[in-house]
Amino acid sequence: MKFAALITLLTLSSFAQEVKNPWIKKPIIGMTGAYMVIQNNTNKEVSLIRVEGEDAKHYEIHTHTKVDGVMKMRQIKELVINPKKSVELKPMSYHIMMLEIPKKKIKNLSGKMKLIFSNGKTIEITAPVKEL
């Protein structure tokens, strides 16, 4: 029992950040959003600072808010994840904005992207494409 607990602890601590349920909204024209849950397993605040990938020319971190019935999308420099907490990227909220997807790629995205964090860690993911 103790051994099992130790193994679990080791596995968890080896993932400083974890990504769950990534997906990309099927693009209509040359842009779309990517969504996921990012969990910070460390005792320190960590930020997602950059995203790279091969499907789109640009990957940006954005947020979406509704103020008095008006939708406002803004780019943010970093997405902060508090110690032992997670942040959900979802439609009408935080998202990774994929811009300038070449026409021939729109219908067959690889979904591969690399998330780069403020503590130097990187996570490579493959996000499936889904209808909204």
Partner: protein, 200 residues
């Protein structure tokens, strides 16, 4: 003393009954789709461009219409909204799609032309009437329909700018007049009920 209280209570109860009864009576006299008068000063004629040519409010008359204002570089709110509209109409009955005009209007006159907007609308279904306009035309219709939109520079973004915009559905009767506007057409049954009444 006790008797007086009893009489007072009875009188009050009687007043309440009459009041509620008359309210119910007057409500039942009101038209089924309440237009509330709030939108009397809103709406009116406009001209925008469809891929096939000019489209004005008069071209939409004869059927109820649903208008939604957005822009094509919108990652999720516009697609979600147009999807929701199709879903709600599916629920009323698949044939309903042909009985109304589903209109998507891009307020992004700098980036969206009739071809791009048409391609965008067709992704959701072929029967979307997707319209673009010149700066003058967009300013005219958004003023008439009280749609807020604003170009906001995103200085470090490859997008260059975004367009803040009102996310709202406008339901127009076959006469082209605004019946009501809705921010939520899925969870709030009002839109479905109003549309059903218009189709009766």
């Amino acid at each position: 003393m006790k008797n007086q209280f009893g009489r007072l209570a009875l009188t009050l109860l009687l007043f309440l009954a009459v009041f509620l009864g008359s309210r119910y009576y007057y409500q039942s006299l009101e038209p089924k789709v309440e237009t509330s008068g709030l939108y009397d000063h809103l709406g009116g004629d406009f001209t925008l461009t469809h891929i096939s040519g000019d489209k004005s409010l008069k071209d939409l008359k004869g059927k109820p219409s649903v208008l939604y204002f957005g822009f094509t570089s919108c990652p999720d709110i516009c697609p979600l909204s147009l999807n929701k509209l199709n879903k709600v109409i599916d629920k009323i009955g698949p044939k309903t799609h042909g009985l109304i005009n589903k209109v998507f209007i891009s307020v992004d006159y700098k980036r969206d032309d009739p071809k791009k907007v048409d391609e965008y609308g067709r992704y959701f279904s072929d029967d979307f009437i997707s319209l673009a306009g010149s700066e003058e035309q967009i300013k005219d219709i958004t003023k008439k329909y009280a749609v807020h939109f604003e170009f906001v520079p995103l200085k470090d973004s490859a997008l260059g700018y975004t367009v803040d915009h009102t996310s709202r559905f406008y339901l127009l009767g076959a006469d082209g007049k605004i019946v009501n506007t809705y921010s939520d057409i899925i969870n709030d049954p009002k839109f479905t009920n109003d549309l059903k009444e218009l189709l009766k």
